[in-house]
Symmetry: C2
Subunit: 402 residues, 2 copies
C-alpha cells in the first residue's frame, strides 16, 4: 500500500462528492464566503464526533441526531454565527437550515448535517440563509470554496487529499478543517469534514474515527477553551467501487493509516494557525506509564500559557516546561525525566545540562518548535500540538465581538 | 466578636513576631529587597500547605518536612531564584539556607522553614546568601520589608492585619502574599505567610487552614499554571496570652472568620495584581448540585482565556462565559442557567435578555468585574477570583528570563 498526498487537495477530490459556497452576508466582511454545501451523489456511511461541552450549539444537537443512524448525504455549514445559546428558537433555525438544504439537494432532512461557527448568542440571520442557500452551486471543484467558507479567525484554509493505492485498487481520503481558537480538548477543532470514496462498514468507520481523533484532533490546543460547536464528520460514499472495508482486516488498517495522515496534517495546520500564533509547538512525550498519562503531559505542556509565552519570546525557559509537566496529573519523578529542545538534550535524568542559550534562542526562531520529554518510567508515548501565545491572540480575542 | 482591619497592617503586628529584609543581589534589580527572615520570639504551632505539582522546589520539600511536627519558629525566604529543578545540589543549598538562618537566630534547623521564588533551574547564589543573611536586622516593624522582599513580578506588596476582639480578650491575625503568575489551583499562591498571637491547638489550626484555603487561596488563578514553589504557612505563637483555641468551639469559629478575612483579602489582591492585569474578575456561582461543581464552574470561568481577553477588551461577550461554564465538568443544563454581569441580569433560564451593549461595555471599564452564574440545579455555591488577560501578560512572560 502507498499513501500519496495530492497537490492542492480538497474534500471534493474523492469521487462522487460535490461542494460549493456563497457569500450570504453572515460574516461582516463584505464578499466573504460564509455559507456552503457538501453533497455526495451516493449514499454514505457516516460517523460523527462532537464537543463534550455541556453547552452545545443547536446545530451540534441536531447533527448528532441525524448522523446517529450512520448515514448522511450532505452538510450545510456556515461561518459568522454559531447559532448557539439561542434557546428553542436556535433549534428551530437549525432545523430550517437542514430542511432548506435537503429541499435544495432533493434529500431527506435526516440525511443532512448542519454546522455553524462564529459568534454565540445571536440569532442566525435566517432571511440571508433563505435567500442565498438555494443559490449555492455545487461541483467537483467546490472543495476549496467550502474550506474557505467555514473559516472564522483562521488566516488560511486547511485541507488535504491523499490517494491510497492498495492491492484491491485505489481510493482517496480528503479533509478540511477550520480552527483556530477554542480548539481544546476532546474534539479539538471546531469543524473537520473528511470525505472518502472508499466504502467502510459503519462500526469500523466509527471505531477508526475515534482511534484517529484520539491521536490527532484531540491532541491539539490553542487556548484551552472548548467550543460549543466542535464537529468532526467522516463521510464514506464507496464511489471508488472497491470492496467494503471491514473491522480487523488489513484493509481497515490501511484505511486507518490514510485517515491518520489526513487528520495529522489537519491537526498540525489547526495548531499552526492558532489565533495570533507564529510557532507550531510539537510536544512528544515518551516513557510514560500509561497512554492517558503520556497524553495528559503532552497536552498540559502544549497548553501552558507560560510555555506558550516563552516560545513567543524565543526563550529557552525549560523550567516552565518541566513545571507544566509536573502538574499534568500523571506520574512523574523529577530525577528520571529527560528533555530535549529543538533536538538538543538539555535536561538529563533530573539534571540540567549546560547549553548555549543565545544559540538555542536562535533555534527557537524556527517556525516549528519541538519539545521532547522522556519521563523514564514506562513505555507509553503521545504527541500533542499547540502554538505560542502572542499579543496578537489577546488583540484578536479582546476585539472579536464588538 | 468583632474583626477590625488595622491600617497599614503587616505580619509583625501580632505580638512576638519580628522580621527584616536585605538586598542580597539575588534579584537583578539593584537594591531590591530579596532576602528576608520572619521570626517568632515564642514557640509556634504551625501548619503548612504546599504545591500539588509533582515537580517541587527543594525548599518546598524541606519546609514540608520541617513543619510536619506542627512547630516552626522562623521562615527564611528569598525572591529572584526558586531553587527548583536543581537536583540534589538544590536540596543541599536549601539545607544550608535553613542552617544559616537557624544559626543566625539561635534555633534548631527543624524549626526553620525556607521559601524561595523566582527563576527555575538555576543554582541559588549561595555566596550572596552567606554574605547577606547574617546582616538581616529583624524588628517588630519589619513586616512591610518582608512583604516587599518576597515579590517577583508583583507590582505591589500584599499584606493585611486584623484585630479580633472576643469575650476572652483580643488577638491579631496578619498575613502577606506574593503572586502573581502561576497561581493556580490547589495552592493558589506562590507564598502566603500568616501570623497570629492567638494560641491554636495543632489539629484545629490544620483543619481551619485547609477549610479557609479551599475558599480563598485555592479559588484564584492568573494563568492556569501551577508553580513548583507554592507555600502557605500559618504560625500561631500565643503571645496574646489568651486560652488555647480548640476544634469545634465558638473560639475556633471566631478564629476561622478572622483567618477567612485575612486570606480573602490576600486572594483578591493576588488575583487583582495578576501579571499584566487591569481588572479583578469575581465569579460567583450559585445553584450548583455540589460544592465541587460550584468551585469547578467558578474556577473554569475565571481561568478561561476567552473570558479573560473579553474582559480586557470591555467586551460583554457573555456567550464565552456560558461556554466556559459548560466545559467545567459539573452538571449544567443550558435551559436552567441564569447569569448577571456587573449586577445586571442578561441571561435568564436559557434565554438571552436584551441589554444596552455600549452601556455594559462602559460598566466593564470598572476595575472590578463581577460575573454571577446561577446554575438553577441545587444549593451549592462558590466564588473564584481571576484577572483579565492582556498583552502585558504576554510581554511579561515572553521576556521574563532572557
Amino acid at each position: 500500500m502507498t499513501i500519496e498526498t495530492i497537490q492542492n487537495g480538497h474534500v471534493t477530490m474523492p469521487k462522487g462528492f460535490l461542494a460549493g459556497a456563497v457569500s450570504a452576508g453572515i460574516k461582516t466582511r463584505a464578499g466573504a464566503l460564509d455559507l456552503c454545501l457538501l453533497y455526495s451523489e451516493r449514499e454514505c456511511t457516516a460517523a460523527g464526533m462532537f464537543t463534550q461541552n455541556l453547552v452545545k450549539g443547536a446545530p451540534v444537537v441536531l447533527t448528532a441526531q441525524n448522523v446517529s443512524d450512520g448515514k448522511l448525504r450532505a452538510i450545510v455549514a456556515n461561518s459568522g454565527n454559531s447559532n448557539s445559546l439561542n434557546g428553542p428558537g436556535g433549534m428551530e433555525d437549525a432545523r430550517q437550515m437542514v430542511a432548506m438544504a435537503a429541499s435544495t439537494l432533493g434529500l431527506n432532512n435526516q440525511d443532512v448535517a448542519v454546522c455553524s461557527t462564529g459568534i454565540t448568542g445571536v440569532r442566525m440571520p435566517m432571511a440571508k440563509v433563505r435567500t442565498h442557500l438555494p443559490t449555492v452551486s455545487i461541483s467537483a471543484e467546490g472543495g476549496h470554496d467550502l474550506a474557505e467558507a467555514i473559516m472564522t479567525t483562521d488566516t488560511r484554509p486547511k485541507q488535504i487529499a491523499v490517494s491510497v493505492s492498495t492491492a484491491n485498487g485505489s481510493y482517496s481520503v480528503a479533509g478540511c478543517s477550520k480552527g483556530s481558537g477554542m480548539i481544546h480538548p476532546n474534539m479539538a477543532t471546531m469543524f473537520t469534514f473528511v470525505t472518502t470514496d472508499a466504502v467502510v462498514e459503519l462500526e469500523c468507520l466509527r471505531g477508526l474515527q475515534r482511534e484517529v481523533a484520539g491521536k490527532t484532533l484531540n491532541m491539539i490546543s490553542v487556548d484551552g477553551d472548548t467550543s460549543c460547536s466542535d464537529t468532526f464528520l467522516v463521510l464514506a460514499n464507496g464511489a471508488a467501487g472497491l470492496p467494503r472495508i471491514e473491522s480487523g482486516t488489513p484493509e481497515a488498517q490501511e484505511f486507518q493509516e490514510a485517515l491518520l495522515t489526513v487528520c495529522t496534517h489537519l491537526a498540525r495546520e489547526l495548531a499552526r494557525d492558532g489565533e495570533g500564533a507564529r510557532h507550531l509547538i510539537e510536544v512528544a512525550v515518551t516513557g510514560a506509564t500509561t497512554l492517558e498519562g503520556a497524553r495528559a503531559v503532552a497536552r498540559t505542556v502544549s497548553t501552558s500559557p507560560l510555555v506558550k509565552t516563552a516560545v513567543a519570546g524565543y526563550d529557552p525557559n525549560w523550567g516552565r516546561i518541566l513545571v507544566a509537566a509536573g502538574r499534568a496529573g500523571a506520574p512523574l519523578e523529577e530525577a528520571k525525566v529527560s528533555m530535549s529542545l529543538q533536538g538538543e538534550l538539555i535536561f538529563q535524568r533530573g539534571l540540567a545540562l549546560p547549553f548555549d542559550e543565545p544559540a538555542m534562542s536562535k533555534k527557537l526562531e524556527s517556525e516549528e518548535v519541538k519539545i521532547e520529554i522522556d519521563l523514564g518510567l514506562g513505555e507509553a508515548s503521545a504527541t500533542a500540538w499547540g502554538c505560542d501565545l502572542t499579543t496578537d491572540y489577546v488583540h484578536i480575542n479582546a476585539d472579536y465581538r464588538t
